[in-house]
């Protein structure tokens, strides 16, 4: 599994690890039913504490991406639907924008400016 970390990422380490593993799942590098490398191997490769990796993997479990099975390790359940993940965030963004008097088209302009 290829894991990439951004050196300038200010987020807590466990979130960065979760992002790295999530990316591998989203981009179908690991398919549903495949097993992830054991947490201690991911930790060794990234040079982080195994508890950090376990915390990240628990986040992914709560998102429904992976499942923990006793004696069988951690396996991928399914790839997340990016629309399903992003849609609530977009709604929240639009609600916030309305509070400042911005229309959806203004938000689109903002997004284009930021990207």
């Amino acid at each position: 599994m290829l894991l990439t970390l951004d050196l300038s990422d200010p987020r807590p380490l466990h979130e960065q690890v979760a992002t790295a593993v999530r990316r591998a799942i989203v981009e179908s590098e690991i398919r549903p039913g495949d097993r992830l490398p054991p947490a201690r191997d991911i930790a060794a490769a990234l040079g982080v504490n195994v508890n950090t990796v376990l915390r990240a993997l628990r986040e992914l479990r709560d998102e429904g991406l992976v499942e923990f099975r006793r004696g069988r390790g951690i396996s991928v359940v399914g790839a997340p639907d990016p629309r399903g993940v992003l849609l609530p965030q977009v709604r929240e963004l639009l609600d916030n924008a309305r509070r400042y008097g911005l229309q959806p088209k203004d938000v689109i302009a903002l997004i284009e400016e930021a990207s």
Partner: protein, 327 residues
């Protein structure tokens, strides 16, 4: 007809011909052989065991098949024929097996020829050594013969996968491989060693068998060490960690490497499981299939059976990328 089909056809024909020659020898001289005939000679050179002719014919056929069928399976199933090296070994095995069976039969017939009973058969001394020497020499010729023909070449620089991390990004690759059968048999050996020691210590088991505990422990530990591995590629090095404890770790600095790619290899091609081959051309074989192959700057290669090898190879190539790769 493809090269592979021709090889398999030739090997089958050779097996059938040598088998028929051995059986034919026995049947052709049957009227001049005692029945039962001498089939085994002791260290003194005197015959010390006998067999009926029918049994000897059966044993010859079974021996021939026992030697040739595993080679044929290796030739048909794996990719052993594609690579010059493994094809050479297979050809050597075929030539050795055929000539050994025919030679052994010829010596048996010669020794028994015109003897009244099997005990009167001629003694065998140097003939046995000559048989071993000649068949091994012919096997070596077979090796050279098998090397003729195409060889699978490693992918060129353009064919190799490359993954270059973006600036400001740290990329690592980690993957594992394990073999449940190896884990299981390693535990069986360790359990057997414990039982033997316990029998000796607790029950006063008098037989010297308990000394087997030492090799059993050794085999068990070695088996465990080679039953599961973790392979990781980080900015500085490729690291292979063995066994359930992920220790020992074998580290290759990336500076020593020249290129990487993924390749399918099978235990039938590399000669079994575990560490196979010699340094400079070795395979760490846990299970057949995808292997990460790295080439050293001095030209040697190391292959490791591991899942997701293509991506690992891509990262190695990407991290080596700033250097000019050799084709």
């Amino acid at each position: 007809m493809s090269f592979r089909a021709r090889f398999i056809l030739a090997a089958s024909a050779w097996t059938a011909l040598t088998g028929a020659a051995a059986v034919g020898l026995l049947l052709f001289f049957a009227h001049r052989l005692p029945d039962p005939l001498a089939s085994h000679w002791g260290p003194s050179g005197r015959p010390d065991d006998s067999m009926s002719l029918t049994t000897l014919v059966t044993v010859t056929v079974v021996l021939m098949l026992g030697l040739a069928v595993p080679c044929l399976i290796a030739a048909i199933h794996g990719k052993a024929l594609r690579r010059r090296q493994s094809r050479g070994f297979l050809a050597a095995a075929f030539v050795w097996a055929g000539t050994f069976v025919v030679g052994m039969t010829a010596i048996t017939v010669w020794a028994n020829l015109d003897a009244t009973t099997w005990r009167a058969a001629r003694p065998i001394h140097w003939q046995a050594f000559a048989l071993i020497a000649v068949t091994f020499a012919l096997g070596a010729l077979g090796y050279l013969l098998g090397r003729f023909g195409p060889d699978e070449s490693p992918p060129t620089a353009a064919q190799r996968p490359v993954y270059t991390p973006k600036p400001g990004q740290r990329a690592t690759w980690v993957s594992t491989a394990s073999n449940r059968w190896l884990v299981g048999s390693a535990y069986v050996f360790l359990a057997a060693a414990i039982v033997l020691v316990a029998a000796k210590v607790a029950l006063g088991f008098s037989s010297g068998l308990w000394a087997l505990a030492i090799p059993f422990t050794f085999v068990g530990i070695l088996g465990l060490a080679l039953s599961t591995i973790r392979v990781q590629v980080t900015e500085g090095a490729l690291a292979i960690a063995f066994g359930p404890l992920r220790w020992p770790v074998y580290t290759v600095p990336l500076a020593q490497l020249d290129a990487a790619w993924s390749e399918e290899r099978w235990p039938t091609e590399v000669g079994g499981w575990g560490y196979r081959g010699l340094p400079g051309g070795a395979t760490i074989m846990l299970r057949g299939g995808e292997c990460l192959v790295v080439r050293y700057r001095d030209g040697g290669t190391l292959a490791i059976s591991v899942d997701d090898a293509e991506r690992g190879a891509a990262l190695v190539n990407g991290l080596l990328g700033s250097r000019t790769p050799t084709p």
